[in-house]
């Protein structure tokens, strides 16, 4: 498992929004995102990030305290040690007070022609 130096996240909200702050969990520890920009209301776009500097077992985006949150699209940019930066875009998902969504994807495997 790689050491994650930093990640940033861009969230497009669909028809049902929620309220700030946006929380994530790293290895099951719940934290608010740093450098929040924009909003999480209907059709709004939000961005934030966090300097992790640790090995990742899990990384999730936490659902709202109450009600639902329609996420139209999620883009996560990862900066891991010994790996070129990479991004992953996740499709639409609905979160609520009982759910969190996995936002961790391992770096792409190296491939080459033989």
């Amino acid at each position: 498992m790689p050491k994650l130096n930093r990640f940033t996240i861009e969230i497009e909200t669909g028809e049902t929004g929620t309220e700030l702050p946006v929380h994530f969990t790293i290895n099951n520890h719940k934290m608010p995102l740093d450098d929040p920009q924009g909003g999480v209301g209907p059709a709004e776009t939000f961005s934030g990030g966090f300097e992790i500097g640790s090995f990742v077992h899990s990384l999730t985006l936490v659902g709202p305290e109450s009600g639902q949150w329609d996420v139209r699209k999620l883009k996560v940019n990862y900066d891991c040690e010994h790996t070129p930066p990479y991004s992953v875009t996740f499709d639409a998902i609905t979160l609520d007070e009982t759910t969190e969504v996995n936002i961790w994807q391992d770096p792409p495997l190296p491939t080459w022609d033989v």
Partner: protein
Amino acid sequence: MSVLKKLSQMFSGSGAKEQEAGEAVSGAKSQASQGSFAEEPPVRRRVIQASVIMAEAEESGPSDKILIKAEPSRDYEQCKFMVNRPLFEGHSWLFSSFEEAAGSPIAESVFSVESVATLLIHESTAVVTKTGAKGVADWETLAREVGGALRKTLESGTDLISKDIVAKIPAEEVVKEEIQKVIDTEVNPGVAGHGGNITLTAISGNTVTILMGGGCQGCSAADLTLKQGIHGAFRKAVPYVGAIYDETDHAGGLNPYYR
């Protein structure tokens, strides 16, 4: 600011932040003045998965040339070779030793490469394991040699897999029935002690896909159970079984491996 610094600040800082860092679910409400035994346990959030929108795949298109890509696994135990030609259409086969390769030209050529331990052929992929690989560098030379061996056999135009092996593989229904029997009589009684269960989700030719549920889903020892327990039981009882895949999402649900 690093996680450690932030957590340290939270625990040494205000009570509100301390609570925030420690609570598993922010929606949990404490019952004040009822004593610690009366507090509601925090509700565990269920981890769900969003589909990954794939980046545009590299379009190689049909080609007269034999194209082979090598991709080592994350633990470097094996390397997958993706070929733009069918190797064993509709079926899969595990060659677990040099001796078993006899009569199958593709396996004979791959096992002629030093330090190849096993070879799994499935549709248009070949998965090779070697012992002691610790990094990508350990695969660079070997992958080129295996790629060369695969290409040479394909260019020869010969049958790739022994006719004896092809004849051994029964109808899909038979494979399904026998694998289900092993699950019901051996595997599930074994994992039930840990609250686990195994479900057969798909059979394609002699390729088996399973789902690990109950205590097995999210268990950190699931890989060990799969490779040393389930694979062994399947292959012993149903020797013509090919590839065995686990489609369990061990990072999702209420009990993922990291909790």
